[in-house]
C-alpha cells in the first residue's frame, strides 16, 4: 500500500537556506552538507537501491555549541546494546551520572526477578571519586566484581561499561576482566565505550558488537541442538515489548527464535547465536557489525526486515519465508491472512481520522525510515525525516522510503529543528524527550519515537494497532484547540475527535 504524494521541496529548500543564514559562516558551511531536499523517487525499489537522492553528509563530528541531540558511545553500548541483556550485571564504570541518567529509561522490557536473577532496571556504578581518577580504578573494579558475586550470585556474567575517565587515566579493564573471569568462572566483558569516542552513539554500538565477538563467542562450550528453522532476531530491544510482538509472528510462521538481541535477552541466547540458520536484523545501524561477522565467520546469512505497519510486515514476512522455502511460505500466507481482518479494522477505524496529516520525524537507528510506511498505511504524509547518528548506508536505505521534496536533516541542531517545524507546521512530530516539550508548546502534537511515549509495542500486527491508536490520540486530543485565550483567538487549529 504505497501512498502517492509529493512534498513542497521549494519551501523546504528555502527553510534550509534560512537556517543556514543564521549560523557563523564556518558553521553554515559545515551544516549545509547535512541538510537536503529529497529528489524524484519513481518506483519503490529493493532495500538499499537508490532511486531518489537524499544524500547528506553523515556520521561526522557534531559542531560545538549548536545543541546537537546526539548522545555518546556509552549510551550506544550500555544504553542500547548491552543494557537489555537481562541476566548479566552491567557496571557503569566511572562517575555516577551516566548510569543514573540512563537508569531504566529505554523501557527494554524483560521477565525475571529483578535483583535476584535479572538486573535490567538497576543501576550498578563504581561511583568514581577523585582518588580513583588519581590512582586508577582497576583495584576497585576487582573488588566490585567480588561484591557483585557475593550479593548477586545468580548473575550469568558481568559487563564493564567504560565511562569517559577510564580511557583517559589508562585503566586496564581488559586485564581485570580476564583475571576475574578466570577466578569466578563467568563471562566478563569489558566494553571500551568511553563517551568521547566517536561522534555519537554509533561508535558505541560498534564497540559493543565487537565486544560480543571478542569476549562472548567461542569462550565457553555451548550445548545446543540446532534446528532447520532457527533464527536470531537481532537489533530489537523490546521497547514496550516490541520483540515479543515480533517473536509471536515469527513463531507462527514456523520459525524457531533461538536468540533475541538484546531485548529480554540472556547470555545463553547470545552464546549460541552462531548456531542459527539466519540472522534477522531490525535495527541495522546498531547491530549490522555482528551480523557481518557471523556471516564471515560462521556463514550465517542475514536479512533486514521491517515490522512497522502492515505493508512492511507483510513484505518482510514473505521475504523471510522465501529464505526457508515452500513450507514456511505457506504458513506465512496463512498468518498474513489471519491478521488481515485486524489490519483492515485498524485502518478502517483510524485512517479516516488521520488521512492527509503530515508528519516530521527525527529519531535514531532504523526509525527515520522504518516507521515511514506505517504512517502511510494510515494515510499520513511524511514531510521530513533525519537521523541522529545515521551513516551513509542509512541514507541510502532511506531513499526509497521518502517522497520527492522531503526535507532531510542529519544530526539536526535544536535551532534547525525548531525552525523547520515552525516553517512546515506538520500535524505531528515524532522525536525524543528533549524535543517533545518545545514542539508541544508550539501547539503541535508529538509522540516520542524512542520510548513510544511510555506506550508500545509498535512492532508486529499487535503493535500496529497500538501505534495507530497512539497517533490518533496525539493528533485528535482536544487540548490543541485550547491554546489561545478567547480574547486573543484566531481561527482554531484543533481538530479534536473523541476516542472510539
Amino acid at each position: 500500500m504505497s501512498l502517492e504524494y509529493e512534498n513542497d521541496g521549494a519551501l523546504h529548500a528555502k527553510l534550509i537556506e534560512e537556517v543556514l543564514s543564521q549560523y557563523p559562516d564556518k558553521t553554515a558551511k559545515r551544516r549545509k552538507k547535512h541538510l537536503n531536499v529529497a529528489k524524484s523517487g519513481d518506483e519503490p525499489g529493493e532495500e538499499g537501491e537508490i532511486l531518489s537522492e537524499c544524500d547528506v553528509k553523515s556520521n561526522i563530528k557534531s559542531i560545538p555549541g549548536v545543541m546537537t541531540i546526539r548522545g555518546c558511545a556509552y549510551a550506544g553500548s550500555k544504553g542500547v546494546v548491552w543494557g537489555p541483556v537481562k541476566d548479566m550485571v552491567h557496571i557503569s564504570h566511572g562517575p555516577v551520572g551516566c548510569g543514573q541518567y540512563s537508569w531504566s529509561q529505554r523501557r527494554n522490557y524483560y521477565v525475571g526477578t529483578t535483583g535476584i536473577d535479572t538486573f535490567g532496571t538497576m543501576q550498578f556504578t563504581s561511583d568514581f571519586q577523585e582518588k580513583d581518577i588519581v590512582f586508577g580504578g582497576d583495584k576497585k573494579l576487582e573488588q566490585i566484581i567480588d561484591e557483585i558475586e557475593e550479593l548477586f550470585p545468580l548473575n550469568k556474567g558481568i559487563t564493564v561499561q567504560s565511562e569517559c575517565p577510564i580511557g583517559l587515566i589508562g585503566d586496564d579493564t581488559e586485564a581485570v576482566s580476564r583475571k576475574k573471569a578466570k577466578e569466578i568462572e563467568k563471562t566478563i566483558v569489558p566494553v571500551r565505550c568511553e563517551g568521547f569516542r566517536g561522534v555519537s552513539q554509533s561508535l558505541g554500538h560498534h564497540i559493543a558488537n565487537d565486544a560480543i565477538r571478542d569476549w562472548v563467542f567461542e569462550k565457553r562450550e555451548v550445548e545446543f541442538e540446532g534446528g532447520p528453522y532457527d533464527v536470531n532476531v537481532v537489533g530489537d530491544y523490546n521497547i514496550g515489548g516490541d520483540a515479543w510482538a515480533s517473536r509471536i509472528l515469527l513463531e507462527e510462521i514456523g520459525l524457531r527464535v533461538v536468540g533475541n538481541w538484546s531485548g529480554d535477552a540472556t547470555l545463553a541466547e547470545i552464546e549460541r547465536a552462531p548456531k542459527a540458520k539466519l540472522n534477522l536484523i531490525h535495527c541495522y545501524r546498531s547491530m549490522n557489525y555482528i551480523c557481518r561477522h557471523m556471516e564471515e565467520k560462521y556463514g550465517i546469512a542475514w536479512m533486514e526486515y521491517n515490522f512497522f505497519g502492515p505493508s512492511q510486515i507483510e513484505a518482510s514476512l514473505r521475504k523471510i519465508a522465501k529464505h526457508f522455502g515452500p513450507e514456511i511460505e505457506e504458513k506465512t500466507e496463512k498468518v498474513i491472512a489471519k491478521y488481515r481482518p485486524l489490519v483492515d479494522e485498524v485502518i478502517a477505524k483510524y485512517r479516516p481520522r488521520l488521512e492527509g496529516n503530515t508528519v516530521m520525524l527525527y529519531v535514531g537507528g532504523l526509525r527515520p525510515r522504518h516507521v515511514i510506511t506505517a504512517y502511510e498505511d494510515l494515510g499520513m504524509v511524511i514531510v521530513g525525516t533525519g537521523y541522529e547518528f545515521g551513516h551513509n548506508d542509512d541514507y541510502q536505505r532511506t531513499a526509497h522510503y521518502v517522497k520527492n521534496g522531503t526535507l532531510i536533516y542529519d544530526d539536526v541542531t535544536g535551532y534547525e529543528l525548531e525552525k523547520f517545524i515552525e516553517g512546515v507546521r506538520p500535524n505531528l512530530v515524532g522525536s525524543g524527550i528533549k524535543e517533545k516539550y518545545p514542539v508541544q508548546k508550539m501547539g503541535i502534537p508529538f509522540r516520542q519515537m524512542h520510548s513510544w511515549d511510555y506506550s508500545g509495542p509498535y512492532h508486529g500486527y499487535d503493535g500496529f494497532a497500538v501505534f495507530a491508536r497512539d497517533v490518533d490520540l496525539a493528533i485528535n486530543n482536544p487540548v490543541w484547540g485550547l491554546f489561545e485565550a478567547p480574547w486573543k483567538r484566531r481561527p482554531s487549529r484543533g481538530r479534536a475527535m473523541a476516542a472510539e
Binding site: 543564521q22 558553521t27 563530528k61 559542531i63 560545538p64 555549541g65 549548536v66 545543541m67 541531540i69 546526539r70 548522545g71 555518546c72 566511572g94 562517575p95 555516577v96 551520572g97 541518567y101 537508569w103 526477578t113 535483583g115 536473577d117 543501576q123 550498578f124 556504578t125 563504581s126 568514581f128 571519586q129 576497585k140 561484591e147 550470585p153 545468580l154 569517559c164 583517559l168 568521547f196 569516542r197 566517536g198 514496550g240 515479543w244 509471536i248 513463531e251 527464535v257 540472556t266 489471519k338 485486524l342 479494522e345 485498524v346 541542531t413 535544536g414 535551532y415 525548531e418 525524543g432 528533549k434 516539550y437 514542539v439 508550539m442 501547539g443 506506550s455 494497532a465 497500538v466 485565550a485
Partner: protein
C-alpha cells in the same frame, strides 16, 4: 488473537494474554538457560535477611541504585535559573543529552543546554578549539544574555582550564569582550549534583561581584533556593510569603518560570530567571539566605567574604522550620510577620491536629538530598511520626552529625538511624529487616515499593512517573499542608485497599475516617 481495533491492548494488558504468557514461558524454558525456580526463590528470600543485610552493608566499592546524580546536572539546573542564560557544558556531548533528558522527564518541560562536543582529538589536544567554536555558535544561534560554562568529567580529567579558555575565546571574538560567560569546574567524580549547583551559583556571583564596590543596603535579602525539583511551586510560594511581609529581596537562581512555561503556541527557550542586573545589585544585600545548606556551602562562604551576613536552612517545610526561616527574614529585614501568615500557620497546625491520630507513631524511611531528608525528618516528628531510616547517598559526615542532633531533639527521633553515603540497595535491606509504614523519596523508590511492599510517597526530584506534583509548593506552611495531605492520602488509600474485600475485611471499610 488478543488484539482488536475495537479495544486496542497496549503492553500492560497485551502481554498478560494467554498467547503471550505461553510464548514467554516457552522462551524461558527452551532458550534462556534459567536457574531453577527454587534457587531463585531461595535467593530472593535470602535477600530479605539480616545476614544479607550485613553482606550488603559490608560493600566498599560497588554502588547500587544510588540516590544522587553528578555535578554538571546541578550546574545546568543552576544556570537555567538566570535570565536568558544558556548552560554550556564543556566536554563530551552525550552528558548534555542526559542532563536535558533528565530534567525534561521530571519537569515535563523543555530543557536547553549545549555541549562543546569534545571527542578523541580534544582528549589529546585539549578542548580549546571546541570552546572557541562552541561559544561563537551558541551566542549566534540562541541569542543568550549569558552563557554559564561548566564541565564534564572528561574535560576535568584532561585538565582544561575554563578561565583561560574563555579568555581565549573572547580574544578570538567568539562572543563580545563584555559578554557574560561565568564558569565553574564541576567534576563528576567529586560530590554530587548539589555541589555542581553550589559551584555554578558561586561562579556566577564571583563573575558579577568580583572587584565591585559593595554599598550595603540594610534590610535587603538574597535568597538562594538550591537544587530543587519543586522549584516551580516552592519559589513562588516563598515569594508570596516575602511579598506578604513586604521584604526587599532577590531570588538568586530561580528556575520556577523556566520550568513552567505556558502552552499558548509559542515556545520560549528562556523564561523568567534572576535578572542579570538583579544579580549585580545583590552584592549590596545585607544578607544572603540559603534554603538548602548543603547546596550552597561554597556560595555562602563567598557571600561572607564580600561582607554579607549569611544564614542557611534545610529546605524550610512544616511548622518549626518555616517559623525559623520567617523569624530570620523578619530579624534581618526589620519587617514583622503579618497576621495573615500567622493564620496560615494556624491552619497548618489545625490540619495536623485534625489528622494526628492517623499520623502518630507511623514509621518512615526517608531518602533524598541531605537538606530534604533533614526537612522531612523534622516535619514527620512534628506530626508524631518516627523517621526510622534517614538516608542520603550524597550526605556527608557533617550531615550525619547534624541529623543525629536533630533526631536527638525529639522523643520521636530516638529510634531513628542515619545512613550517610548509602544507596537504595542498602535501603532495600533496611526495609526488609526493620520495616516501616511509609517510604518517602522519588520515582526510583518504586522498585523498593514493589520489592518490599512499603508504600512510596514521591516528594523529591526526580519524579518521572507521576505528573505535576512539582508545580505545588512543599515549603512554608502551605507546602506543609500539601505534604501532610499527600502522606494522609497514602495512608487512607492503603487502609481502604486492605479493608475492601467484600464480606471478609470490609467491616473496617469506614465511610468516615
Amino acid at each position: 488473537m488478543p488484539q482488536s481495533a475495537e479495544k486496542v491492548l497496549d503492553h500492560a494488558p497485551l502481554f498478560r494474554e494467554p498467547e503471550y504468557r505461553q510464548m514467554l514461558a516457552d522462551k524461558k524454558l527452551n532458550f534462556e538457560c534459567p536457574h531453577q525456580d527454587q534457587v531463585v526463590t531461595d535467593q530472593r528470600e535470602f535477600t530479605k535477611t539480616w545476614e544479607y543485610r550485613e553482606k550488603n552493608f559490608a560493600r566498599e566499592a560497588l554502588v547500587i541504585n544510588p540516590a544522587k546524580a553528578c555535578q554538571p546536572l546541578g550546574a545546568v539546573f543552576a544556570a537555567t535559573g538566570f535570565e536568558r542564560t544558556m548552560p554550556f557544558v564543556h566536554g563530551s556531548q552525550g552528558c548534555v543529552a542526559y542532563y536535558r533528558s533528565h530534567l525534561s522527564r521530571h519537569f515535563k518541560e523543555p530543557a536547553s543546554a549545549v555541549s562543546s562536543s569534545m571527542t578523541e582529538d580534544a582528549a589529546v589536544f585539549g578542548g580549546l578549539k571546541n570552546m572557541v567554536d562552541g561559544l561563537a555558535n551558541t551566542y549566534k544561534l540562541y541569542d543568550p544574555k549569558m552563557i554559564a560554562v561548566s564541565t564534564t568529567c572528561m574535560a576535568e580529567v584532561i585538565g582544561d582550564d575554563l578561565h583561560s579558555f574563555i579568555e581565549n575565546a573572547k580574544e578570538e571574538g567568539s562572543v563580545p569582550r563584555d559578554f557574560d560567560v561565568p564558569f565553574a569546574h564541576t567534576p563528576a567524580f567529586v560530590g554530587s549534583h548539589v555541589d555542581g549547583y553550589d559551584g555554578t551559583v558561586r561562579g556566577i556571583l564571583e563573575h558579577f561581584w568580583k572587584g565591585q564596590e559593595r554599598t550595603e543596603a540594610l534590610g535587603t535579602i538574597n535568597i538562594i533556593p538550591g537544587f530543587d525539583g519543586f522549584c516551580v511551586g516552592n519559589n513562588r510560594e516563598l515569594k508570596r510569603l516575602l511579598d506578604l511581609m513586604g521584604v526587599s529581596y532577590t531570588f538568586i537562581q530561580d528556575a520556577s518560570d523556566q520550568f513552567d512555561t505556558p502552552s499558548d503556541g509559542e515556545y520560549r527557550m528562556y523564561d523568567g530567571g534572576t535578572k542579570i542586573q538583579d544579580v549585580k545589585n545583590a552584592l549590596n544585600a545585607e544578607a544572603t539566605l540559603s534554603l538548602q545548606h548543603y547546596n550552597t556551602r561554597k556560595t555562602l562562604e563567598y557571600c561572607e567574604e564580600v561582607g554579607q551576613a549569611t544564614a542557611s536552612f534545610h529546605y524550610p517545610l512544616g511548622v518549626q522550620a518555616t517559623d525559623e526561616f520567617l523569624l530570620e527574614v523578619s530579624a534581618i529585614s526589620g519587617k514583622e510577620i503579618p497576621e495573615a501568615i500567622r493564620l496560615e500557620r494556624g491552619r497548618l497546625v489545625d490540619a495536623m491536629a485534625d489528622s494526628q491520630s492517623w499520623l502518630h507513631g507511623k514509621k518512615y524511611a526517608l531518602y533524598g538530598d541531605p537538606d530534604f531528608v533533614h526537612a522531612m525528618a523534622r516535619f514527620i516528628m512534628e506530626t508524631g511520626g518516627e523517621p526510622t531510616h534517614c538516608l542520603a547517598t550524597n550526605g556527608t559526615t557533617a550531615w550525619e552529625d547534624e541529623m543525629k542532633e536533630l533526631l536527638a531533639s525529639s522523643p520521636f527521633g530516638k529510634e531513628a538511624q542515619v545512613w550517610a553515603g548509602k544507596d537504595l540497595w542498602a535501603m532495600r535491606s533496611l526495609l526488609f529487616t526493620e520495616p516501616v509504614d511509609l517510604l518517602i523519596g522519588n520515582s526510583y523508590g518504586k522498585y523498593l515499593e514493589r520489592d518490599t511492599g512499603t508504600p512510596l510517597i514521591r516528594l523529591m526530584f526526580p519524579i518521572f512517573d507521576r505528573h505535576h506534583h512539582h508545580r505545588f509548593a512543599l515549603m512554608g506552611y502551605q507546602g506543609g499542608l500539601r505534604v501532610l495531605t499527600t502522606i494522609l492520602d497514602k495512608i487512607f488509600d492503603k487502609l481502604d485497599r486492605e479493608t475492601s474485600e467484600t464480606g471478609v475485611t470490609d467491616y473496617s471499610y469506614d465511610l468516615t475516617r
